[in-house]
């Protein structure tokens, strides 16, 4: 056990910190979940990519730096510490890319990864359907075999930033005779083609970033199938329980948020909340320690397994506690929007609270995550 950072890790941190200090634009930033804000963020993503910071853990061949997972955690810590813009391309680089690294062909990696990290091609996840929310295996969208590929039809929903993206990835039923987990195939679908209709859906905070995507015979060439045909569930789950469980919300985010909460307390003190503020600050650091432990194990060849579900439970509940506390500190100013003259910190705590409320829902509800942990970690009988 050596919890100090190696000279090269320290050098990496110093380089990241210096670059961010010199390049992170002053806030507040527009929301990346509106069309105008998204365009602003894409410019930032391009700048990040140009400097080699878009996907540090990727091979240099695809625009990364071959950084270790430890270094990636360090970069994330520095990124959030600097208050840099939220990553609007994260559903590509953090959710699709790990799948491509594990199951993609060389051709796919060559073709897809660099434009993804460069923010030239924009990716949205398309896991949910109207009848497949928590019950992800209940996919109704179909793919019919045609010459050179597939014709896909159906409805995908809650596609984050789907209205601004170029392509989606998700599961399609390629074997009509099957049910649930069997007979599904993991596909990427170009949105710029006939047979695709994208309907933006506003979130409760007013941002328009959700999309419903209606597919009616859109074409998916064979080269856009990831992994084996009919083996999509395995492909999706393997990456869910590998790196994706780690990368969705890295500790740096919560370290930064709780540090800012401490700063907020200094401006809006309330002694009755000291204990709870210390508690969330500690929990964020526990999440950091846990993650360094996990990453050490992964770098030695271990997997993350169902720990990704424990991770998700921990950070989502921590995030909600943190933002609730911030609103408690703010009192009458808590409810003000960013355009209110009296708004504190550009209303980031209210916006953060609203987003934190979604944490126990997205990426698999916390009820489903608890079921998964009960079954896979505690080996309890299925209900």
């Amino acid at each position: 056990m050596d919890l100090s950072f190696t000279p090269s890790e320290q050098a990496f941190r110093a380089e990241a910190r210096a670059w961010l200090a010199a390049n992170v634009p002053p806030g507040p930033y527009p929301s990346g979940d509106t069309r105008e804000g998204y365009a602003w963020h894409v410019q930032w993503e391009k700048k990040l990519f140009a400097a080699g910071w878009s996907a540090v853990s990727w091979p240099a061949a695809y625009g990364g730096r071959d950084a270790s997972l430890i270094a990636w955690l360090i970069f994330e810590e520095e990124y959030y510490r600097a208050g840099a813009p939220a990553r609007v391309i994260q559903n590509g680089i953090f959710l699709l890319a790990p799948t491509l690294f594990e199951f993609g062909t060389e051709e796919q990696k060559e073709r897809i990864l660099r434009p993804m990290a460069a923010a030239e091609v924009h990716w949205a996840q398309a896991w949910s359907e109207p009848e497949a929310g928590s019950d992800l295996a209940n996919v109704r969208s179909t793919a019919e075999r045609v010459d050179g590929g597939w014709r896909v039809s159906g409805q995908k929903t809650w596609c984050t930033r789907g209205a601004f993206c170029d392509a989606i990835y998700g599961l399609f039923r390629t074997d009509p005779a099957t049910e649930r987990h069997r007979g599904l195939t993991y596909m990427m679908v170009d949105l710029h083609q006939p047979g695709v209709t994208v309907r933006p859906v506003e979130r409760l905070d007013g941002d328009e970033s959700f999309a419903e995507i209606f597919l009616d015979g859109a074409f998916v060439p064979d080269r856009d199938v990831i992994g084996q045909v009919h083996q999509g569930w395995k492909v999706a789950m393997a990456t869910t329980s590998s790196e994706r469980g780690l990368s969705l919300r890295s500790p740096g985010r919560f370290l930064a948020t709780t540090t800012r909460l401490v700063d907020l307390y200094r401006r809006h003190p309330d002694p009755a909340l000291r204990d709870r503020i210390a508690d969330v600050w500690i929990q964020a650091r526990a999440y950091q320690a846990y993650t360094y432990q996990t990453v050490t194990r992964m770098m030695a060849g271990g997997g993350i397994g169902a720990d990704s579900s424990l991770n998700k439970l921990y950070w989502s509940e921590l995030d909600l506690q943190t933002h609730t506390l911030a609103l408690d500190l703010l009192g009458p100013q808590a409810e003000l929007l960013a355009d209110a003259p009296d708004a504190v910190d550009h209303a980031e705590w209210l916006l953060g609270f609203a987003f934190a409320l979604a944490g126990p829902i997205y990426a698999g509800t916390n009820e489903v995550q608890r079921n998964i942990v009960a079954a896979r970690v505690l080996d309890l009988p299925r209900g």
Partner: protein, 322 residues
Amino acid sequence: MHFAFTEEQQQIGDAVRDALADACPAGVVRAAWAAPDTAVRSLLADLGVLGLNLPEAVGGLGLGMVDAVLPLTEAGRAAAPVALVETIATNPTLAAIGEADLAAQVATGEAFVTLRAPGGYAVDADRAALVLVVEGDRVGVVRAPRLVAQPAVDGSRRLFAVEGDVEPTDADGRELLDRAALAAAAQLVGLSHHMLAMAVDYAKTRRQFGAPIGSFQAVQHHLVDALLRVRFAAPTVAQAAWHVDAGTAEASLQVAMATSLAADAASLTARKALQVHGAIGYTFEYDLHLWMKRAWSLSAAWGDARAHRARVADHLLGAPDA
């Protein structure tokens, strides 16, 4: 000891509920985000609710806070886009400071009086004939306020910062704030009932894993936790109202208790209702957020749960640094 609303009180509550069910569906709440409501306020005037606790001499019903609990609860259930907290809270003060003419206009809905929350804002101040403020333990009047709009999370609650000359009065400030907090608590109970009902309905119809999600223990227990908080908060609101009307020494303490419980219940219910709905509840087009945002707003505007508990703690335990 008789802990029940009278038949008359129930009837007024039912009448408000029925009228709002017709006149104030979710679409009307949503519309008030774009264009401030006038119709629902008129309806409440017609029902006598706006003058409920004004003297009969100025066209009011001459009733008290206990009588106001069910109408307020029902306005909360409907998320009526009306600053009813301010009206119920300020009515007795208007009578006390000799604003009889204005009071008469409030009862009919012709005029509106608002109240600036401590450290906070006044709803619909741009439409108000008068803004009341509390300074020290007394009520003050701002007749020519300078207003700055402060857009907030609930688009139907139009907040304004208020500045301007304050004309002092002898009216009791604590009593005014207690009425406001209590009126908000009653609305929070109604808001909670509705959010819970939405979530229960959704849980009965939404199917996943081949069954209605309301058949899963985790979902059931979420909803029961919310119900538990709402059920035990509601009687304390009625009890506090009784103490306010009776002018007992513990009235303000009772208000603090009720408000803290109602605010906690509403916060928890909002969270559980959203969780049970999942992503659909997170959209702007689904109605749940209209109720959630009102709940967030009302549960903090007149002192949040913790602030009211701090008042109780001071009473029980002495001042913090004693």
